[in-house]
Symmetry: C2
Subunit: 470 residues, 2 copies
């Protein structure tokens, strides 16, 4: 074991013993060099190792803090929670939650989007102004499917930064990731086909399945480890599955990410059964700063993964620009797009192409990742300070969601309704499943700064949970 690994191990033990607790500041690098007699490089390596393991997190100006440790979540059925449903029916509920979240002045803990003040709205407006001034008269035709050539090339270059070789030819620009995901599913399936989703899952997957009259099998996903591959293997053996739709990174609503090993195993498993994967990766850029993870698509040797991305969570919401790297399904998917929305708005494609090819994009992403990590940790600490101990808070690296487990007898829908009356939205667990198993869970958006207003909202939330009436 190298010296830096030894140091990391020692620090880990001290943290496990409670010498430093979640949110506590570790001794500075300089201090540790002085205390240990090790070189600065060794100490830095040790800290970075711990950071990559999610044990500590780097905070701007305050050095390294101890990261929240995974809390134990007792799910109703841990082993291999599979359920079947001929009819998924989630729409009315999703719609009413979305509508409620639109109310002006509501504290948006239920929102799926990051705090819009984190987006470089003005800089993007400048890109938009610039490109609209130089649009050729044929701009509409030039940007028909598969979409703007410059934007597809820029996306391809970003894949290259991850060591992935994705040709611009397999990239199709869409009206946000929602269209990318829907087109992917429509490309792979016919009415009546079986599709694997996660449990819990992004409600958009259930809605798409309902709309296309497909049948869904949900495979249990652990809030720290991600999808249960054994359960998935069993499902693939049992059912004639046509597609699998999941998130391998910063899963919505849990926040968890698969390890590289697990991503590769997942790909191999699906490939053995010749099942294509719809990889919803809209939070891809929101990793913790030091390590850029690679999606399952990175292990795709057969063109079987349809990797769906978006700029709505990492750059700007409301422009509605996403994409899919559709592998061997690209030609068919492109035809389907021509039939459904024809194309994505051309000025929006051009503006985003302009922005992401500038140095501003990387600078923005760095800042965004840092801020989201800081705010999520602060929100975690705030929740822990105010919520009863009986409430579990799942903290995963990256993204901006926290997943809360209330005591099992509680129904988060009730908290949701009471919250709306008090001016606070949350996303109740029922949104993420068509069964009641996540009734006592909720997803909170942790992308907002801990302002007095946010603190008050957390206090109210804690009060609602304490006063919960059966």
């Amino acid at each position: 074991m190298a010296k830096y690994e030894q140091l990391a191990q020692e620090l880990k033990t001290l943290i496990a013993q409670g010498v430093w607790q979640a949110g506590d500041k570790l001794p500075s690098l300089r201090q540790t060099v002085a205390d240990s007699g090790l070189s600065l490089m060794t100490v830095l390596n040790a800290y970075q190792l711990l950071e990559s393991q999610g044990v500590i997190t780097a905070q701007a100006k305050s050095g390294y803090l101890v990261a929240p440790q995974p809390e134990t979540f007792r799910y109703p059925d841990r082993q291999r929670q599979i359920y079947l449903s001929d009819k998924v029916d989630i729409n009315e509920f999703v719609f009413s939650v979305l509508q409620a979240s639109k109310q002006a002045g509501i504290v948006p803990f239920g929102s799926g989007f990051p705090d819009p003040s984190l987006f470089p709205q003005q800089a993007l407006a400048r890109s938009l102004v610039k490109v609209t001034r130089h649009m050729s008269p044929s701009f509409a035709a030039d940007n028909l499917p598969p979409g703007n050539a410059g934007l597809r090339k820029a996306i391809s270059q970003r894949y290259a930064k991850l060591g992935m070789s994705i040709s611009p030819d397999e990239i199709i620009i869409t009206s946000g990731a929602m269209e990318a995901l829907n087109l992917s599913l429509a490309t792979l399936t016919q009415a009546g086909d079986w599709v694997v989703i996660e449990s819990p899952t992004f409600y958009g997957a259930m809605q798409a399945i309902e709309r296309l009259k497909l049948k869904a099998i949900a495979v249990a996903t652990d809030p720290q480890l991600g999808i249960d591959l054994e359960a998935l293997a069993e499902v693939l053996k049992t059912y004639p599955v046509k597609a699998c739709w999941l998130m391998s990174q910063h899963q919505n609503p849990l926040g968890c990410s698969l390890s590289d090993t697990k991503k590769q195993a997942l790909y191999q498993l699906l490939n053995e059964h010749k099942v294509s994967l719809i990889e919803d990766d809209v939070y891809q850029e929101l990793y913790v700063d030091s390590s850029a993870p690679r999606p399952v698509k990175a292990f795709d040797t057969e063109g079987r993964v349809l990797h769906c991305g978006s700029f709505s969570k990492s750059l700007i919401a409301g422009y509605r620009v996403g994409w899919v790297a559709a592998g061997l399904h690209a030609p068919q998917l492109q035809r389907l797009q021509v039939m459904s929305t024809l194309s994505t708005s051309a000025p929006m494609q051009l503006a985003i192409a302009d922005f992401i090819q500038s140095a501003q994009y990387e600078r923005h992403l760095k800042q965004l990742r840092k801020k989201l990590a800081d705010r999520k940790l602060a929100m975690y600490q705030l929740l822990r300070a105010h919520l009863p101990e009986s409430v579990g808070v799942n903290f995963a690296q990256g993204g901006y969601f926290l997943w809360l487990a209330l005591p099992a007898h509680m129904d988060a829908t009730q908290i949701y309704s009471q919250g709306i009356e008090r001016g606070i939205s949350i996303a109740p667990g029922n949104l993420f499943s068509n069964q009641v198993e996540f009734r006592h869970f909720m997803r909170l958006n942790a992308s907002y700064e801990c302002s007095p207003e946010i603190v008050s909202a957390v206090v109210v939330l804690a009060e609602l949970i304490r006063n919960y009436s059966r």
Copy 2:
């Protein structure tokens, strides 16, 4: 009979006798006042009556010209051309025609869009710049379905100008009319349902029907009189039809418009059978200047018409903003949109709302209508001058399409392939039906100025037709 009606009748007789022929200039108002001894008002009324009847057209700076008269079209089955098809399969052909039309430098007679130089691209860019500078941080959420409130209000006000009372609440902003039409069809039907379309029809209708696994009945549509209501009545009696999708104005590909009486009769017929109408009205604004027609939606007393509009043909292509006034189906359609593309790009909605609320919009539309009318007439004359007499050219008021009937033994697909090789695209009749009945027809885009390049292209087209080999 009033004096002006008498004068109109006399002029009509002279035109029928060939004293003045299509494209000839009529005597000026002043000249006719001098010749007839009638008042200027009487003469003006007579000319305007003839204009409203499509007998003459007003031309900028050149007074009134005789309009082309309807040519006789012999369709393979004139009476009530109904066919059934369990499987509509048009996609590959449509896609290859669309892709071919994207080639740089091609003469775009096959294009579905008007000459982009007719669009106020720079003025819209200024609107876009203005709105992006003033977007609130919450602009993404504010413009979620049903869409920007200001834009929906502005659209509602335009309906009011036609004497139609359409609440902003039933208007949903979409990513172009294509999304509006697709969502409408998905709202009204389940897989296996029967849908009525026209014959010939916009290929997008057939694609949507195929995608949703519906069954289609096509009802004959006359190039001058529009859909055959007797045939439609019979179909409605015979089949459990769930929806009817048609164009009541400037039909694509024919160009024909229904009279008000026929629009009302159509509505009543559908209403008797409780069948909802998807009214594709994307060329609504492209009428001949003196008369703003009202869609079938104007006769809708039950909220049964889903009126689909777009800015892509009248204002700017490539922004991808359309709408549907969905009547009683609005709530369900809105839910469906949230599930499929989430929403239309917010800056695009805001820019168009800004522009159409300014005086520029009406000014632009007036110019556009005039230019399109002039260019279509010029194109008609050009075609008549070069094409063999055996080719029929259907001239309908409004829009920018001409519908050509080649001799019955010809296949326009062959002309299309040869045309592409010579740098000219056309839209062959097979695009607009899944039967071969329109094999010897073609649609030409007449929105381009008769430049030397366009003249040469017409000469080549005439040559291809003359040299047609069986």
